[in-house]
Symmetry: C2
Subunit: 117 residues, 2 copies
DNA sequence: CGTGTGTATCGTCAATCGACGATTGACGAT
DNA sequence: ATCGTCAATCGTCGATTGACGATACACACG
């Protein structure tokens, strides 16, 4: 059997749609830095892939992603760290197996900032 | 007097709205690489600022941007090169007065790729 | 033809990135 | 208590980035 027996529902607070990512300024030096930081987090094909996988709920754990990609576990962990640092994903630190999922608010904010260009 | 006497209408074909950036695939390994490349081009506050200035038509020439930012001319030129390589901006190569402007199609494509996440 | 203006390119240098293996730490299960 | 699994961290290495000054280039104008 696979050592990763498909995770149960151990993701983020489920249907949380904060929608607060549209409140802040969209044109300012701070917005420039914010957009640049978000773009930087997505500035790698592997990270785009990871975000897509998490958005589709195709994976929740680091090991799942390692299975899908031709990369070492430490490399995947580092990409997850970058995405988490940018706020694009969040981790369930409480659960046994650390479930990752996307942060809808950050993604919404990203889209809003880009749309404003 | 300013050595940059405000440029005349030396921008791109003006009201060109190709809108062809929505035709290609939005979920694929190629799309991942494409989105990552576009994000990488915007992954710097200065480049975000430059794109914003060009989108607002506040500047068209490299020298205008140099006037606005605390950066050397060669640095600004390099940022412009990165943006042009990513296809986000285009240049009127006709003269020393190179007129830069945003590439609406690339920006639209960028937005479409991000929205698909 | 020389001069000034506006850009691009080159070379350099410090800093950051991306990848890896190895190690460590946390749990659950045996 | 030991083992196996999952993930984070550390240290390293080569490649890339970002910044700069200096230089070279293209053209308009005198």
């Amino acid at each position: 059997m696979s050592p990763h027996p498909i995770p149960d529902e151990l993701c983020c607070p489920a249907g949380s749609e904060p929608l607060d990512g549209v409140a802040a300024t969209v044109e300012s030096p701070e917005a420039d830095a914010e957009l640049a930081a978000l773009a930087k987090a997505l500035a790698h094909p592997v990270r785009v892939r990871i975000v897509r996988m998490l958005a589709r709920r195709e994976a929740r754990m680091c090991s799942h992603i390692v299975d899908e990609l031709p990369l070492a576990q430490s490399t995947v962990s580092e990409h997850l760290r970058v995405l988490k640092a940018a706020g694009l994903i969040v981790a369930n630190e409480s659960s046994p197996r650390v479930g990752y999922c996307i942060a809808p608010a950050a993604l919404t904010r990203f889209k809003a900032l880009l749309q404003a260009l």
